[in-house]
Amino acid sequence: MAEKEGILVIAELSPAGAPDAVTLELLGLGARLAASSGKQLQAAAVGIDTASAAATLIASGAAAVFTVEGSAYAAYDPDLHVTALEKVVEEAGPSAVLVGNTTVGQDLVPRLAFALKAGLTTDAVSLEMKGGALASTKPVYGGNAMAVFVSRGKPALASVRPGAGDPAKPDASRTGETVKVDVEAPSPRLSFGGKVLEEGGDVRLEEARVIVSGGRGLGGAEGFEQLRELARLLGGAVGASRPPVDAGWWPSTQQVGITGKIVSPEVYVAVAISGSSQHLSGISDSRVIVAINKDPEAYIFKVSDYGVVGEWQQVLPGLSSRIREILGV
């Protein structure tokens, strides 16, 4: 039986109707929050056909799944989805609602929060239950301070940064209840004229959340292909110190350092970069610096938070494959 004041995860369904990787992460996170507060883990799924999604959500730990089904929900329409989820939240009466901070999540959750007149923290990096209330932590002022938010009312909403939790492991033996919620879909106010996909434009260095940079030690342009692979995994951009740009392995527009671009990403991965002063003054604002270099005395280690001493040709594959596992990609 669905209990009140539970932890409700709003599933984001792929076009084929399956919960995406971020949703499984939220369920992993939600399970921890539910356990720590003695509340029930629940999920919500809105779509054209939610049966298979409901089964996966239950197998992934949801004790109850609230579904809203209908042809109107074939593609994401903010007004329809907010109206549906508003009804689900009224029905479920949760204490916390979790949404992925994805392209759809960023559009959906502010509307839902205002519709519910509920507190919302976006892009949260960690969540706790404190005295039955959701406490969400996130960086503010561009990472210059970390703030913990608690909502006055109930439920409290949070959109969670992808990668902030460990995905739940599906277990077919689990059982759970599916609650159909009937919603009178409002007439759509937006008409969607189709998507135009361009060949993946590179993320700009100045805006990248993650930057993977290569130095002289890469030895050639081929090394940068491996960096591009790692950067793609982390949704980041590829930069370079001066020597590779000078040797023509990487364009000068992507050079990082005083005589290149000054960057301030969340994560800066320096691969085979010794760490000249010109380069370091370009990356000092990075929140976290990770260095891979075969020379233990390389100056880069003195300004890094994490490091591995070793040949990048071997270290990088190990790093990338484990990240692929972690992200379930």
Partner: protein, 410 residues
């Protein structure tokens, strides 16, 4: 407080609009020029031409003085001298070449469209080139110069490069191997000092597309990449009578005074950029192995102090010149010659000081001071080129002597 504010200038004399314009230009040139410098270096088409178009047309520096009814901003009070100084300082900080070109346009506007002295006929003839459409207009001057032809009519010893004959339908100009001050290859309007047989010289505004102007190939020079200069031939160039801005010396001296204000501000701006470069260098360079940073070593610190002093004084001098032009009476108005001499003295002083200052800065930076990537050497080449186009300092000293010692035959 940004580093620039360390260098005093008469902030109180500038209108809020001047400061806002300067702040807006600073943001623009930082993004459109300085941040693209490493990649585009001094590329004319990729960097300098688009920036020039943005400065002259979009922000509208080429419309500043013209009457509103002709599409101008009619910002033509004498106090506009401060606006010119504040604007050209920020442009000069990013690229002295762009400031050099802007100084031409603003000087011509100030000389021709100043409040109360704007002749209806002349403005109507020329203002459209500045105010209509959104195209940048590059203005260039043809001033007296040491020439090969010994017999040419002279102004203060230097040959006047172009002769003009006035006829019923206007002026006819002729001159061989004429060296303009800038942009011979692509200027849209030339301000030409012309000798008129047996009469006072005439300053005539000649559209760049006038029939009879032939432009030689662009030549290479030390700096100022934004000025694509080339020598010109004037063969029977016909120009309407209305295009004669003034006759005799007074109008010409006034034009040069505003031109020198522009160059003084551009120099001061470039030196602010030099300060930022040496400050960064002084903070990071370690010498003598004892981990002593440059700025802490007594010898190099003394030199860095002298560099700051020169820059501070040069900035004050540039704004002092703006003050002179904004209120000549306050300096005892003896007419354009007094203002011209002050302008000439101040601008030459600034450029001699700028050369000295950048030499010291470059010595401190050793090879990096000379490498293009660290940006310093470009200001060094550009400012030296401006000083050459300003004229020989040695001969300017004669103008000082004429003023202070009332010489007769000099």
């Amino acid at each position: 407080m940004s580093d620039q504010d360390l260098f005093a200038y008469p902030r109180g004399r500038l209108h809020a609009a001047d400061k806002d314009l300067a702040a807006s230009l600073q943001a623009m040139v930082q993004k459109e020029v300085m941040d693209k410098r490493l990649e585009l270096k001094e590329d004319y088409d990729g960097l300098l031409a688009p920036s020039l178009a943005r400065l002259m047309a979009e922000v509208g520096l080429q419309k500043m003085f013209w009457p509103e009814k002709l599409g101008g901003e009619e910002h033509n009070e004498p106090e506009a001298a401060y606006t010119v100084a504040a604007a050209l300082e920020q442009i000069g900080r990013a690229d002295v070449g762009l400031a050099f070109l802007a100084a031409h346009s603003l000087a011509l506007q100030a000389a021709v469209a100043a409040k109360g002295s704007c002749r209806e006929e002349l403005c109507a003839a020329v203002a459209p080139l500045f105010c209509e459409g959104n195209r940048p207009l590059i203005v260039s001057f043809v001033l007296p110069a040491m020439s090969q032809d010994g017999g040419a009519p002279e102004w203060r010893g230097k040959g006047i490069q172009v002769r003009a004959k006035s006829g019923p339908e206007g002026w006819t100009l002729s001159g061989k191997a004429v060296r303009p001050t800038c942009s011979g290859a692509d200027a849209g309007l030339f301000g030409v000092l012309c000798a008129v047989d047996g009469e006072e010289p005439a300053f005539i505004l000649v559209p760049g597309d006038s029939h009879g102007i032939s432009r030689e190939k662009e030549f290479l020079k030390t700096g100022l990449a934004a000025s694509r200069n080339a020598d010109l031939d004037f063969e029977g160039v016909k120009v309407p009578a209305a295009n004669c801005a003034w006759r005799g010396e007074e109008g010409f001296l006034n034009l040069l005074s505003w031109f020198y204000l522009g160059l003084a501000a551009a120099g001061s701006g470039a030196l602010l950029a030099v300060y930022e470069i040496i400050k960064e260098w002084g903070d990071n360079r370690v010498i003598k192995g004892r981990g002593q940073v440059f700025k802490e070593n007594p010898l190099t610190a003394a030199l860095m102090g002298e560099i700051a002093k020169e820059i501070a004084v040069d900035r004050l001098l540039a704004y002092n010149l703006a003050d002179i032009l904004s209120d000549p009476q306050a300096y005892g108005d003896d007419g354009p010659l007094a203002v011209f001499t002050s302008a000439l003295m101040l601008v030459h002083h600034i450029y001699v000081s700028a050369e000295y200052t950048i030499h010291r800065t470059m010595e401190l930076m050793a090879s990096a001071g000379y490498a293009r990537e660290w940006q310093l050497e470009r200001y060094w080449r550009d400012l030296k080129t401006v000083q050459c186009y300003l004229g020989a300092y040695e001969l300017a000293k004669h103008d000082f002597a004429r003023r202070f010692y009332h010489t007769k035959t000099l």
